[in-house]
Structures are given as C-alpha cells and as structure tokens.
Amino acid sequence: MAHGLLGIEALSREEIQAILDRAKDFQPRDGQSFRKYDLLRDKMVVNLFFETSTRTRTSFEIAAKRLGADSVSITASASSVTKGESLVDTLNTLAAMRPQAIIMRHAASGAPHFLQRHLEIPIINAGDGTHEHPTQALLDARTILDRGAKLEGLRVAIIGDIAHSRVARSNVYLLSKFGANIVLCGPASLLPEALKTIAPGVTLTTNMDEAIRDADVIMMLRVQLERQHEPGFSASEYFQFYGLRLEHLKLARPDAIVMHPGPINRGREISSEAADSQRSVILNQVENGISVRMAVLERVMSGKKTDGATAH
C-alpha cells in the first residue's frame, strides 16, 4: 500500500518528530520568503478539494511549488463529481494521469482511508469530515515548539465544537503521543464523554475558566456556522460561555499562547482583542503551514518512504 499521510493516529512519535524537524529547515529566515528548492523537480501533485478551502489549498500549493513540484488544484464544483461520477472513479481517473501524490479534502470522515484501500498512489489527507486534519496538527505542534522547548507536560486547552472537529482529533492524537495534558472544553452536547478514551492524557470540562486555568496553550476552534441547524446549544449563548476574551488570558500561564486554525469568526468564538493580542500566534500557524506541508510532501513524494507508489 502506498505511504501517504491519512492521519496522526497511526503515526509514530518518531515519524512526527522527523516531519517537525524537517519543517524547521524549511522555515523562512529573517523576513525573507520561503526558499525555492528543486527537491521534487519533475514530480506532480494533485490538490483535490471536495470542500471549499482557501488557506489549506493555497498552503499546499505554495509548499509544492517551493519544492519544485508541479501542482494542479481541482475543486469539487469544477470536477465531474457533480456529474454523478463516483469518488473511486474520480480518483482512478486522476491517478491515471500519474501524479506522485493526491492531496485530498472531503466532507466525509474516512473518505481518503476508503480510497487508499483501492488506490496505489499515496493520498495526503487535507481534512476528512469530522475525523482528522493531520497537517493542521503538525503545524500547530511546530508553532508550539517554536515558542518553547517541548510538548511533554504542557497543558493545552482545546475549546469549542470538539465533537465535530477534525482539528481537535488530530491535535489530541499528536499532543498525547508527546505526553502533553490536553483539556477539551465545550458545551456538553459537543463534548462526548467517550473523548476521554481516545488517547492518554485527555480530560474534559464544560467550564471554560477551568479549561484555561494554568494553560500553556489555548487552542480555539471555529464555530461551524454550517452546523448551526443542529441545535445542540444555543447560538446566542455560545460566545458568552465559550468565546475567548482578554480576561480569560489572566487565568492562563503568563507566557501562554492563543491559537486558532482559522478562518476566525470574530465575536463568535474569539473576541477581536484576543485574536489580535500579543499572545496570539495565529499568523505564525499560517506560516508554519507551508513549512510543515513542504516536509510532508517531501516525505511522501521523494520516494524515500514510499512503496508501491506509481513509477515514473
């Protein structure tokens, strides 16, 4: 089977560390932009997005180009999916065009896992439904590490719609592998009890103050506006109980950082003041997105770690 990147859960700590270390090499220096390499010259990657995304798709595109690869982006509305072609057929068609990897985002949990069983070419998961978003967790870890020495023993509060968050799941798996203490916080209807069992070091609370107290990292999740029809909580009360404001930051560690996977909804899950505060590393996350995705693309496409990938 092809060696893509489907999720964090199946990765070893060593593999994650290797990606994070390599991403550091790709970080831009002193106000310059990302350096251009030819590590993936003559290689091709397809960006296949079945859900709209600007930042993740652009980030992958830039990462591929900075490594010297050709990159093609396809969005669902422009593809044959709307003509009733099955997902398997769409992927087989693209695979026949001989790219070295397919980057894929899909609204269904497990869609890339299902496809990888039927496809030789490695798939990089750019977010599957409410399951995983592995490169987001990697770039979050890179960003935390840039501010401190290690993840072990850190107290990380993840706040919001945990039940439907692929960002939360991937972060839980990653942080847990490195020995962090993870506090998941949100309204009870969006915080299933079973979350406690998915990885070691996870605790749950519905109280935001409790989650933030002594936290080293505060990770806010986006309110999924598209899920507001599922009335698991009162939308009007959300910001009052689960929106991050400056006063919350006093409860956290003095050097605590505020993270958000973006795009942010100002005044919904985070106040403008908190988002723009000195503690916020939201733009550092965006920047690290490119270096981390360069490391992932290199790992998957260079052939070093792949087996069964399409020959060229």
Binding site: E9, S86, L87, V88, H106, A108, S109, G110, A111, H113, F114, D128, G129, T130, H131, E132, A163, R166, R169, P192, A194, L195, T197, I198
Partner: protein
C-alpha cells in the same frame, strides 16, 4: 410416489423433543415418520451420518428486494442463498418498491415465489401505507393474501398513536407486529454505534438509547393492546433487559437477534468499511454480551439474519453515503455455531429451536417441526466441517458481507423443501 430417506443423522426436533440418531422418512412432500433402520427401497437416500438433521430453518427477517430493486436481489436469487444457508422458509420485509402495503403486492410476491423460489416465502406486510408511519396499510387483506406479520422495518412507526392502532388491529387479526426499534430523532444522521469508536473515527453516532426508547414504548403499548409484539434485530443491552421484563410480566413480547450482532462489536469494524455498516449498528462489547446472554436465558426467541443485499456500486462509496445492511443467509449457521454452540453457551438443540420453533411460534406458521404430517422441510448441517465463505460465489446478487474469507466450523450440508433437495453442498 416420491420417497426420500435421510439416514443415520442426529435428528433434533425440538417440537417433539426428539434428539437421537435416526432416519427421517419423507413421502410426497410430507414427513412420514422418524425411526431407526427404515426401509430404503425405492427411496432416494441422503446419508446424514455425523450430521444434524433438523426441521427446516426459518429466517423471519430478510430483504429480497423484489419488486423494485431486482439489481440487488430477486426472490429467486435470495431464495437460492437461503437454501445454501440451510433455510427452508424466509420472510421478506415489505420495503420493496412499491412497498408491500396491500394485497396486490403480497400476492405478487407469493406468486413470484411459487414460480421461482426454491424455499417457502412468507411475506411480511407493512404497518402503514408506504411505510410512511401515518395511515394504516391494508393489513386485513394482506393477511388474507398470505402475509404472516406486519412491520415497517427500517422506517419505524414514530407516532405512538398509530402504533397503538396497528397493535389493536393486528391483535384482532391474530398476527404479530414486528418493529425495527429506532427513534429516528435520536439516531438522525448516525452511521455507526455511538461510543468511543464513533468518536475516534469522527462518524456520527446511533446511540443505544435510540433503540431502547422505542422498545420501551412498544412494550407499554403491547400491554395496553394485548398484541403479539416482536422486537426485530435486538442489539442493545437495555432492550434485552426490557424484553425479559415484559416476558416476566406475561406479555406476548418476543425478540430476534442477528448472527452479526452476536459476533461483532463496533471495535471489530474495519475502519470505514461499509460491509460493517448496518442498522442497528454493531454495538459496544457489553451489548454483544447482553445479546448473547439474552439467547442463553430465553429473552431472545429467534435468530434472524436481516439479510440486506446492496449492489457494489452502492456499497463502494464514502462510508456515510453507503446504505445500511449486509448479507446474512449463507453465514448464519456458521456464525451462530461459532458464537453460541462451540463455546458451550447453548446446546445444539437450543440452537435448532432458535431457527425453527422459535420463529414458527412467533409467526404462528405450521413449520419448524419434523412431526409426521408436517411439510417436509429439512435442514441438514454439520457442526464440525470446516469451510471458507467466498462471497464472490454467493447465490445472492450482492456481495456485501463482513464475513468474506472467514473460515467456519460447521454449516449447512443439504436443504430439503417439501421433500425436494433444493441445495446440496
């Protein structure tokens, strides 16, 4: 005079409390007698030495997809799969197209079966028109046409008042009401059992309580109406407890379990493999244990497969887009032996009951016995013969089974319907 002699098998007939090595003598489609050293002259002989000879197995819960979905299964193909799995009678659910909610459809199914099926087909009629849950179907005329029970399987009656009417009417007609218990509001959008696995996989959950609240409601209604009420494919531990409770209160409440709910829990599911997607979903391990206990202590009366064929084109999709349901007819005996008899949870005669007298009593049909004069439906199976299930060789038109490639110890060897050998392994 067509004579068939099944020799030297261990004949287990729970209805007549017979269990011992004997011959079964069949003439003109009817059981003539059970005895030792019967004269074989002029008869076709099946040597059943080392095998179990039982009344024909009844699967009271299948989907034959005809009329309307013949690309997935037909009455003929489903009946052949049934015969290969050791079943001599099957009860197709009414979720066909059109829905079996009137005597015309019921008669069509029976007529199709008479011409093309190799096993007996006893249709189950709908409870409500179009199984829409609002207006009662033509229950009386369906019964006259041959329907043996009513159910809106897959589309449970959400309105308790409608369910009460259905139970009152069914009681007056003397047929059972079968419900697929699922509160559709609680289960909405769910793809698998709600628990640690669904959270881990990021799939929406179908909570155990979505089954329990409807079982509870229906048991209360069964008490009010005095109806015979049957829980289809019971899967949650609290539901099993409630059925047991109803029985201790003397209510006419029964339940069936599927082989897959005896064998598999949510954590056994291959991630995002739609061959593990069905309703009710594979539950937690403690639910599996409770269902097994329910079989042992008698809370559960029958094993039924919920055989639900879907063509590959529908199952080869993102998990959440795939339809619910898996094949079951050909693997039922193998899975049941593995989960119940081989580990010593129940004896072989109790297993035979679960496939014969159990469903026959629930439905009130004259099957499930080898008594002289009974229709000569016989299931001959092995308890120890090893075989491997290859779904690509299935008699079903579909291929959706989680048991493909699995090796079983014991399974059907020959199936006799009305004195005719309809399948031989």
């Amino acid at each position: 005079m067509a004579r068939l002699l099944i020799k030297n098998g261990r004949v287990i007939d729970p209805a007549s409390h017979h269990d011992g090595v004997a011959d079964v003598w069949i003439e003109d489609g009817v059981i003539k007698g059970i005895g030792v050293g019967l004269n074989a002259s002029g008869a076709e002989v099946i040597d059943a030495t080392g095998l179990i000879v039982a009344p024909g197995f009844i699967d009271m819960h299948v989907h034959l997809r005809e009329p309307g979905f013949e690309h997935a299964e037909t009455i003929e193909s489903g009946s052949r799969a049934a015969a290969a799995g050791g079943f001599t009678s099957v009860c197709p659910m009414p979720n066909t197209k059109p829905v079996n909610d009137n005597a015309t459809v019921t008669s069509y199914m029976i007529e199709k079966a008479r011409r093309h099926a190799v096993v007996n087909v006893f249709p189950i009629g709908a409870i409500t028109k179009g199984s829409a849950g609002e207006e009662l179907a033509a229950i009386g005329s369906m019964k006259q046409a041959g329907a043996v029970a009513i159910s809106d399987d897959g589309r449970p009656v959400m309105n308790a008042r409608v369910m009460r009417w259905a139970m009152e009417f069914a009681r007056s007609l003397g047929i059972p009401v079968i419900n697929h218990c699922e509160d559709l509001h609680l289960s909405a959008g769910g793809d698998m059992h709600e628990g640690a696995e669904s959270v881990r996989l990021g799939l929406r959950g179908i909570p155990g309580c979505s089954e329990d609240v409807m079982v509870a409601r229906d048991i209360l209604l069964a008490e009010v109406t005095g109806a015979r009420y049957h829980v289809a494919h019971i899967s949650s531990r609290h539901s099993v407890e409630m059925v047991q409770f109803a029985k201790t209160r003397g209510l006419a409440v029964t339940a069936e379990a599927t082989p897959h709910h005896l064998a598999l829990a949510d954590r056994d599911m291959k991630p995002y493999d739609s061959n593990y997607k069905m309703k009710p979903p594979l539950r937690g391990s403690c639910d599996v244990t409770a269902v097994l206990e329910g079989i042992v202590n008698g809370a559960i009366d029958a094993i039924a497969t919920d055989h639900a064929p879907h063509p590959g084109s529908e199952k080869m999709q993102e998990f959440e887009s795939c339809p619910f349901g898996i094949l079951g007819l050909e693997t039922a005996i193998g899975v049941s032996l593995e989960q119940l008899v081989h580990p010593g949870k129940i004896g072989i005669s109790r297993l035979v009951e679960l496939f014969t007298t159990g469903p026959a009593r629930i439905l009130g049909i004259d099957r499930g016995t080898l008594s002289p004069g009974a229709p000569a439906d016989v299931t001959i199976f092995s308890m120890d013969r090893e075989w491997t299930y290859d779904v690509n060789k299935s008699f079903s038109k579909s291929r959706n089974s989680p048991f493909d490639g699995k090796t079983f110890k014991g399974g059907s060897v020959a199936t006799v319907v009305a004195g005719e050998i309809v399948w031989r392994g």
